[in-house]
């Protein structure tokens, strides 16, 4: 009985996450239209509501071509890693007290591990395509990784210090009085910036910059493999904003509404912010990004960690 329930919960959550992430592609285009004084896709169905299905039909029926000059196994493996690496952290995000699939003591560490694994998808894709532009994209991805991985971990450590645990439920319970975003504001900012980096979103999308690299690492991908990369990006947005909600914004805690609603409101606000930043900021050069990461975010997160620990000791 219990095992069946967990099974059901898992499948439902998985499907919900994937379908929400897929529909994000349409939601994002509508929102970008809103930011840029135009309508997004609004032709298929009522107000473009069936656009997602049209996109899916299109992407399913495209030729799924594996280039003969590529390294085939790795070429196929890369989109799978990209799709699943951040999908795997969905189980550790508590949507409500009951809607949590696994409660592990090393939740944060698990997330950090998966986040660093996701880099492999880009490196594999760029390398195995055997294409100069794709390889350049992969190189940029590694440069980008150097600049955000460090303070990705460090920005979470302040939260971990406050809660005294790596367990995400403990972290959630530590913000009953005040959300972590208030005492850990710089941690939140740094984590938000690095999560933009993890999900390869604007402005940190150097590995796939269309203008210079003709889509970068997924240049040789077509059909459903490209779709996996595409949905993978939205899955990482969804899961990262869910994680940010849980870690920094008090998760499901909030007055009046049921806890699911609070979680969703916070998560959707964060997704909105992701899209807003995409619409507004230009893409920096990768050396600018590295210098920003090391000269600003790294010291800020270190100081944040130091301050938190001093405050906890006193």
């Amino acid at each position: 009985m219990n095992r069946n329930f967990i099974m059901l919960k898992t499948i439902i959550l998985l499907l919900l996450t994937i379908s929400f992430s897929a529909s994000l592609s349409v939601i994002e285009r509508r929102l970008l239209g809103l930011f840029q004084n135009r309508y997004g896709p609004n032709r298929v169905g009522w107000q473009g509501s069936l656009q997602l299905i049209a996109d899916m039909i299109k992407i399913f029926f495209k030729e799924d071509w594996i280039p003969p000059f590529s390294n085939k196994i790795i070429f196929v493996l890369a989109p799978i890693i990209s799709f699943s690496s951040l999908l795997i952290i969905v189980p550790i995000i508590p949507i409500t007290k009951e809607l949590l699939i696994i409660d592990i003591n090393i939740g944060i560490l698990f997330f950090l591990m998966m986040a660093s694994l996701s880099v492999y998808s880009i490196l594999f894709a760029g390398w195995s395509s055997n294409n100069k532009y794709a390889l350049l994209g992969a190189l940029r991805a590694s440069a980008q990784t150097l600049s955000y991985e460090i303070f990705l971990g460090l920005s979470l450590m302040g939260v971990v210090l406050r809660a005294g645990s790596f367990n995400i439920l403990d972290i959630l319970n530590s913000q009953k009085q005040v959300w972590n975003i208030v005492p850990q504001f710089f941690g939140f900012i740094a984590f938000f910036i690095s999560s933009l980096g993890i999900s390869h979103r604007h402005p940190f999308d150097q590995p796939e910059s269309e203008q210079e690299l003709a889509d970068g690492y997924h240049l040789e991908y077509s059909g459903i493999k490209f779709g996996l990369f595409f949905i993978g990006e939205y899955i990482s947005i969804t899961t990262l904003s869910g994680l940010m909600t849980v870690i920094f914004l008090g998760g499901f805690y909030g007055p009046f509404f049921p806890s699911v609603i609070w979680f969703l409101i916070k998560m959707i606000c964060l997704i909105f912010l992701f899209i807003l930043i995409r619409a507004s900021l230009p893409r920096p050069r990768y050396d600018q990004m590295i210098s920003f990461g090391w000269r600003w975010c790294f010291p800020v997160t270190l100081l944040n960690l130091l301050g938190t620990s001093i405050w906890l000791i006193c």
Binding site: L34, F35, N37, R38, N42, L276, I277, S280, L281
Partner: protein
Amino acid sequence: MVMKKSIKNIFSQFRSIWVVLKNIFSKRETKLYPEEKIKLSFRYRGKIVLTKTEQGEERCVACNLCATVCPVDCISLQKKVNKKNKRWYAKFFRINFSRCIFCGLCEEACPTAAIQLTPNFELSEFKRKNLIYEKKDLLISTSGKYPDYDFYNYTGVSIKGKFKGELKNESKPIKSTTLLP
């Protein structure tokens, strides 16, 4: 200095986010085309038509100037003479709109203002051969942009009921076979 500049940079990032966010409340610029009709300029170069005079006569005299000037050779026509009133007209007049680039040179070349470009641009078809317009598709019953203009009222071409030299702005033709002044 570096500190000040960097802080300024970071502030400008937040400002640009704010400016973009404000766009939510501004009006959308896109026109929803099929629902919202587009009002194009009178001189827009869209679909080509053949016009008639106010009296309902075909303006086209099949002089072939439009077909000559056409850079993509999409116009083809053949001259014929009307036995009754001695006017020239086109036996067939064909425009291949799948070739046409809507340059408007035919309209400029036309001495009779017969061929005219209209603001109608809705010409899409599923089959290419449907884009070949014959004379019956091109001919309209009104006079288009220059309602008063009638070619035969300005030139010395003779038709039935009007001979050479009968117009006000025209001198009588010289009889070259006689020596008399």
